[in-house]
Subunit: 306 residues, 2 copies
């Protein structure tokens, strides 16, 4: 069995020996133009040429949860595209989002501004009933995040394209329930897949439906948010703030208003990193299952986009 690996970002020198160790009967190598036909390709943001040349693939593994970059390419019709399902990412997302929610709700930045000035301050505790959290997207990551936030007794709403049931989460689904979800939400967390339907979803009109003093946490893709609309809503006072981990262009370009906006916390796409060893183990398990003709999780519906 031949496996080729390519990543635009990741360190091939670490991935290839890892994949080789996990797949001892395979020949694992870095993809290069003209490489011989392989059975499986493990990729992150590959060039079109890889897909055009590799005509014998049994499956194409994406080393991330979001496949939007891959789906922009012309894909071989009959080859299943497999995304990572979790591989240590959901707990990182739960951490990142809970940290951001608590930091905002508990006013830790305001306390810290005081303590940095040597001031011992008192603020009236806020009521969590006034801070319902809404999670957009209830896949593996969104569901874990919703459950994690609910553990801190916040009212939690969830919205997804298709119907979901999660204990402790008020679930909405379908385009016609999006406004109801937003109107019931103060802190909105974006964990949607990026598709033509979800691109620019958080625009002026939708942000205006959030409860007063709304807060945006985006850990999905930059293109979910209309940046000018978010900045306008922050500047008008309609929104209290935003924690943004993802951007239309990454790294976030020099001079972008997000870098210095007093109501925006920027992190460098670090909310949930692909963990190499867990990802390699998952891909190796899935290849073994495919070789035995067994079903696997994480097969992307290319038409749907996730």
């Amino acid at each position: 069995m031949r496996v080729v690996y390519f990543s635009a970002d990741q360190d091939a020198a670490a991935w290839i020996p890892g994949l080789q160790a996990a797949l001892p009967n395979a020949d694992v190598s870095l993809w290069e133009p003209g490489a011989p036909a392989a059975d499986y390709a493990v990729v992150w943001k590959p060039p079109q040429q890889l897909l055009d040349e590799q005509t014998q693939l049994k499956a194409l593994f994406n080393t991330g949860a979001g496949v939007d970059a891959l789906l922009k390419l012309k894909l071989p019709v009959s080859v299943p595209v497999i995304r990572l399902d979790d591989a240590g990412m959901s707990v990182q997302m739960a951490e990142y989002v809970c940290h951001a929610v608590i930091r905002h709700f508990r006013e830790f930045d305001a306390y810290e501004a005081d303590t940095r000035g040597g001031k011992w301050s008192f603020r009236k505790p806020r009521s969590r009933i006034d801070f319902p959290v809404g999670v957009l997207g209830l896949g593996v990551l969104g569901e874990r995040v919703a459950r994690a936030v609910a553990q801190f007794d916040f009212p939690v709403n969830g919205w997804s394209q298709s119907a979901k049931t999660i204990a402790g989460v008020r679930c909405f689904h379908g385009a016609d329930k999006l406004d109801t979800f937003l109107a019931a939400t103060r802190i909105v967390v974006c964990l949607l897949p990026l598709t033509p339907d979800t691109e620019n979803l958080l625009n002026a009109q939708r942000l205006a439906r959030l409860r007063p003093g709304g807060y945006v946490i985006n850990v999905a893709r930059g293109a979910h948010v209309v940046d000018a609309d978010l900045l306008a809503a922050l500047d008008s006072g309609q929104l209290a703030g935003a924690t943004l981990d993802v951007f239309r262009v990454e790294p976030l370009p020099k001079g972008h208003p997000y870098w210095t906006h007093p109501k925006v916390i920027v992190t460098p796409h670090t909310s949930a990193r692909t963990l190499r060893s867990e990802s390699i183990a998952q891909i190796a398990r899935k290849i073994a299952a495919l070789e035995c003709g067994e079903p696997i999780a994480g097969v992307v519906d290319v038409a749907r986009g996730y």
Copy 2:
């Protein structure tokens, strides 16, 4: 029935009408020297004179979880001392501690120092296996905190005076297991009651037993920590940092090294605030139960100290 209220810190103008509304058949008033004998006293850091004068009390309610200030007074021998059990405090503690653990583990401060300078940085993800969290004290608050941290897949240890069993938490108990607990812990969270046994518990010798790169979160009482020893361990590099919400003297005195220490995060005793309405409802329920001769939770073992 007569109820007297006294607090050295809280706003009596809000508590007294609240208690009166919750206890419509009682006469609730602010305690003043020479006040007539009451059936119940609801207090926070009362003067000795209140205890000396109020000789008819059926119970003494403390409007906080920690009774160390109260137990420094000469208490009437036969009057039960009742502390708040939870009343909205455990979820606040879980929030505060999870926020501090995640902030440290995920290096959010280092990322933020970079983004404030307009720098998009990458740090190698840390492994949570290397960051076992240990909770000292497994009462109502400690148990909730331990469970909340465990939800983020950290290894979690717990230590208490008497044996406890908590799913997902490796529980140690008794003085002779404290060193084993500390040696298995990197991030130690103090949620102990303050008693002669636990005062100065986190001294140089005990801090030295933590795993290398240890971290201290104190949300119990300032006197649990020997400040000079903690500062020395931070300065030597033995400890990576500390998040401190409680201090020997509060407000933390001007000029105290904690205010400006680069490895210390100071918050003004805000980890878990007594929530007035929940506390009043709990005290009213307990008074009603006592009047019917029913058992109640939160009765302090004065000899044990909590």
